[in-house]
């Protein structure tokens, strides 16, 4: 996997794709720009999740908690205490990072293997949702409406949809960049060792607990940052969307369909499926609510059975076959 990650930086495809994405707001109709923005949000989520789910090989279901903190806490700090949302975003990210580290510690304390991690993180996500829904400070069940965007960048307002698109693209690229940076760092080496065999990694002196906590914290911070920006873009911090464990399941499905062991996996999974899902929702949303999620679920089952490595490696095999 490592050489592929090195290669990706030299690949003209990546740079072309970045430039192509960056100029999208200049010509794309607003309906499709909204789709593209959503795709960027989920690409960012999927890359952030991948640090734990892919690089460390642990299925975390806690990530809705971090997105929720980023969205709800930063919004609440602004609305209840008048704290600037840039500052709120950082405070929320800090809280998320600490929560991530604590969850990793609790899991390490229990030590039931892969299963327990998924299970314990799911329990945390469930508690997180209950807290948000029940605590008026964070908006309760009705959520928090953010003030109208007046294009004031100092108050975390990015003007029109292009502004949000570029900011969310920046965050998605940041999440991708962090993935690459980790892979080329000692941390990436340790995480691969942990993924391969935790016991063996520990035996040769890898500090398993510290590295797991670090991975979880980094992943949580990224999710939290994107969560804040996403809520601001929607001008509504909706707990049923942003703090629900279903959000994590969606992220996991997108990353897995794309392929968690491939650098392009989260990009392909979220970048492809979110627009398709949005289109389905646009056409069938009133008749068949949930159709797009149903299709994600179906696609995941098919992919795991037919292409266990995910879509991205299958695409690159196809690409190589055609270029020969």
């Amino acid at each position: 996997m490592k050489p592929e990650f090195f290669g990706i930086l030299r690949s003209p495809v990546l740079w072309l794709a970045l430039v192509f994405t960056a100029v999208l707001p200049l010509w794309l109709p607003s309906y499709y720009l909204h789709m593209a923005t959503l795709a960027l949000v989920y690409v960012g989520f999927a890359y952030a999740w991948n640090i734990v789910g892919g690089l460390t090989g642990q299925v975390s279901l806690a990530h809705s908690l971090f997105v929720g903190i980023g969205a709800m806490l930063a919004s609440a700090l602004l609305l209840r205490l008048g704290i600037n949302m840039w500052v709120g975003m950082l405070i929320a990210a800090l809280v998320s990072g600490m929560a991530g580290a604590v969850i990793a510690w609790v899991d390490y304390r229990f030590r039931l293997g892969h299963l327990s991690f998924a299970l314990i993180t799911l329990a945390f996500a469930e508690v997180g949702e209950l807290v948000v829904l029940g605590w008026d400070f964070l908006g309760g069940a009705s959520g928090l409406y953010l003030p109208k965007d007046q294009g004031n960048l100092q108050s975390f307002q990015f003007g029109g949809s292009s502004g949000y698109f570029w900011f969310l693209m920046l965050l998605a690229v940041l999440a991708l960049g962090v993935n690459l940076a980790i892979l080329n760092s000692p941390l990436g080496f340790f995480l691969r060792a942990i993924r391969g065999n935790e016991g063996a990694a520990q035996a040769v002196g890898v500090n398993v607990l510290r590295n797991k906590m670090l991975a979880m914290a980094i992943s949580a911070v990224l999710c939290s940052l994107i969560g804040t920006a996403y809520a601001r873009y929607l001008t509504f911090a909706d707990p049923y969307l942003l703090a629900s464990p279903n959000l994590t399941i969606e992220i996991v499905l997108l990353a897995t369909i794309g392929g968690v062991s491939s650098a392009f996996g989260p990009l392909v999974g979220a970048g492809l499926l979110i627009p398709i899902g949005e289109m389905l929702r646009g056409h069938f949303g009133s008749m068949l609510p949930g159709l797009h999620y149903f299709i994600y679920g179906l696609l995941l089952v098919v992919v795991i059975i037919a292409l266990p490595q995910g879509l991205a490696p299958a695409f690159s095999r196809l690409y190589r076959r055609f270029s020969n």
Partner: protein, 286 residues
């Protein structure tokens, strides 16, 4: 005091059914090493089937269970044989992701068929009450408790006294040795999966009277079941039943005595505290 007694009895009664649900998942885990994150959603499926049977034939949930039980057994059999079996053994992470995919399939399949509004299925005993000392109880809870206890006892007898039970325990302790004894390991795993899912039809019909249904509710049942399973030490029969009572009791006490969120969080908090002191589960020795 009355309220405490009421909460304790109610929690205890519901805990029996939780335990039964978790036993099904525990059996599956003990022979296949699978933990399904869609377990609660299969209970949703069973409950919604009862809704349809009620709508079509005015069938009481206590009667329609005789239809939903074989249907869910068949669903479980097919799911294991065609979808999970090919993946088993390759990667435990993939099984988690696969069952998460099933969660979305079921949740949104139900949403598409039944819509998002809350549904209820009336039962003839739904509103019948009885007095237990000074506390007022609902009949469905007592029925659920007795039926769950009886089924748990049957499961226990099956495990300890029958050849099928011996085969299940053998596959749990050493699948290779079991195969060398002539146990058809794949068949045992498939049947146990079917049984675990079919038990959800029973639990579903027991929990149905008085409950409101909503397509997304399965996940919360899954979480409760998983908490119980871990409390019980994953495959310890008595431990799992005990875990069911603890979660049921803490849920009832929490929602009765603590306001709002803190009440709903009580089972989770209790879970964390217990696990910090007994990481191998309530009865674990490790």
């Amino acid at each position: 005091m009355d309220m405490l007694a009421q909460a304790l009895i109610q929690g205890f009664l519901i805990g029996g059914t939780y335990g039964l649900v978790a036993l099904g998942l525990g059996l599956i885990y003990s022979v296949s090493n699978i933990v399904s994150f869609a377990h609660g959603d299969f209970m949703s499926l069973a409950m919604y089937l009862s809704v349809s049977l009620f709508a079509a034939f005015a069938m009481d949930p206590y009667v329609s269970v005789f239809i939903t039980f074989p249907v869910l057994a068949l669903v479980g059999w097919g799911l294991y044989y065609f979808i999970l079996r090919p993946v088993i053994g390759s990667n435990s992470l993939m099984i988690i992701q696969l069952t998460l995919g099933l969660t979305f399939l079921l949740q949104n399949g139900l949403l598409m068929v039944y819509g998002g509004q809350m549904l209820r299925v009336p039962s003839m005993v739904e509103s019948k009450l009885f007095l237990m000392g000074d506390t007022v109880m609902r009949w469905p809870l007592l029925i659920a408790f007795i039926a769950s206890l009886a089924l748990s006892a049957l499961l226990y007898l099956m495990l300890t006294r029958t050849d099928f039970g011996r085969q299940i325990r053998a596959v749990n302790q050493n699948p290779k040795a079991a195969a060398l004894m002539g146990v058809n390991v794949t068949q045992v795993r498939t049947l146990v999966f079917a049984l675990g899912i079919a038990l959800l039809a029973v639990a579903g019909s027991l929990l149905l009277p008085g409950a409101t249904l909503q397509p997304g509710m399965g996940l919360r049942y899954t979480v409760i079941t998983l908490l119980i399973l871990v409390l019980g030490g994953m495959s310890n029969f008595i431990g799992i039943l005990l875990g069911g009572y603890i979660i049921g009791l803490s849920e009832a006490v929490g929602t009765t005595f603590l306001s709002g969120v803190s009440g709903m969080i009580l089972p989770y908090a209790l879970f964390i505290v217990i696990m910090l002191f007994r990481p191998a589960g309530l009865l674990g020795s490790r």
